[in-house]
């Protein structure tokens, strides 16, 4: 017997799957969905292949920013239990490799999107990558408890990029799709933060639940949910909205608001008594909320030209 053990995770050759994990595939799936909706609800038809290439570029660009985020956050990922199995802290991929992959894919995705569509879409994608990697990851994540609010912008850009890929423009419709995701992110994430006993504190990341307390977080969830409503319902009265979207949006907003109110009016004792049942329920509602809003936009686009297609 020997006290010396070999850590296999440090010596194993990195496979393609490990590099793919750097691109945060789960986040990428949301990006693909919202970018696709932004592209399909645009008023001009797009060639299916160009649409495919555009969504691919947006997904790869988002993945590249995920790799840059993992490169920068490798130190805190090693501390937090939730992130210890990521490729860099697990010893599967070197930090420099993640940086190289992130930069290479960023350049490729932006240039290819430019070639396939237009400069506006490419510039928006470049800004999205810059915003997530530099503004959020490097600057704000570790310096302000509002990090989730600002970081939400990075996740909100994909439908705007998809729309711009077709129209070459930023309009009130694409801004509203951006605003829905941007305003939705804080209540969605803070509901999760309330019932996930995360270890951000050990890593020195100022989460609202830690810096301002859980009572303040509950108030923030309600306020952001109220602020979200006009953007979500307002989209019904633009060219991408219609009667079906309006009905869906009103129902979803009432449902989400009721959940935010339930979270606001209870305290930690009540929450601990039922193991955060309300917070978990609202988190699930928030997932339905976003998926069904963008789904309703797709339905409206499919019904264009019919009586239910527009006002």
């Amino acid at each position: 017997m020997s006290d010396v053990t070999l850590d296999n995770s440090q010596t194993r050759e990195a496979g393609l799957g490990d590099y793919f994990a750097l691109l945060k595939p789960r986040v990428m799936s949301l990006v693909v969905f919202t970018a696709l909706v932004g592209l399909l609800v645009a008023p001009i038809p797009v060639h299916p292949y160009i649409g495919f290439v555009a969504v691919l570029c947006i997904a790869v660009g988002a993945g590249a920013s995920g790799a840059l985020n993992m490169w920068w956050d490798a130190d805190i990922d090693r501390i937090m239990k939730r992130t210890q199995s990521r490729p860099i802290p697990a010893g599967k991929v070197a930090e420099g490799e993640a940086l190289a992959l992130g930069l290479t894919l960023s350049v490729f995705s932006v240039i290819l999107l430019w070639l396939a569509t237009n400069a506006v879409a490419a510039a928006l994608l470049a800004f999205t990558i810059f915003f997530y990697a530099v503004v959020y990851s490097m600057w704000l994540k570790r310096s302000t408890p509002q990090n989730i609010v600002i970081g939400g912008a990075a996740g909100a850009f994909p439908p705007m990029v998809g729309w711009a890929a077709v129209t070459g423009d930023v309009t009130v419709e694409s801004f509203l799709m951006f605003a829905i995701i941007f305003m939705w992110t804080p209540p969605h994430f803070w509901a999760l933060a309330l019932f996930m006993k995360d270890d951000y504190k050990d890593a020195g990341v100022p989460m609202l639940t830690v810096t301002h307390g859980r009572k303040s977080t509950r108030k923030h969830i309600l306020v952001y949910t109220i602020l979200l409503i006009p953007f979500a319902i307002g989209a019904a009265f633009t060219s991408i909205g219609g009667p079906i979207y309006l009905v869906v949006s009103v129902v979803l907003n009432l449902w989400f608001l009721k959940g935010a109110w339930d979270i606001f009016k209870r305290d930690e004792t009540a929450a601990e008594a039922d193991e955060y049942a309300v917070e978990k329920r609202v988190f699930k509602i928030s997932l339905f909320y976003l998926f069904l809003h963008f789904g309703a936009l797709l339905v409206q686009a499919a019904l264009r030209g019919t009586t239910l297609g527009a006002w």
Partner: protein, 66 residues
């Protein structure tokens, strides 16, 4: 002396190298198809000749300088 030395590293990385190779081939195909679609979308495919830096007076329209 063998012309081709099979290093242990080659065997260990074969999956990864094959994957990278396939991705690069995929990128080439992606751009090729994109080119085909872009050319087909032009009203007149002769427009493409504007970009090859060759003076072709016969194809130029008035006022374009070519």
């Amino acid at each position: 002396m063998a012309l081709k030395v099979e290093h242990e590293l080659h065997r260990r990385r074969i999956g990864r190298n094959a994957g990278v190779g396939l991705l690069l081939v995929g990128l080439v195909v992606l751009i090729l198809l994109l080119t085909v679609v872009k050319v087909q979308q032009l009203d007149n495919p002769a427009q493409m000749e504007r970009f090859d830096h060759v003076v072709r007076p016969a194809l130029a329209t008035e006022g374009t300088g070519q």
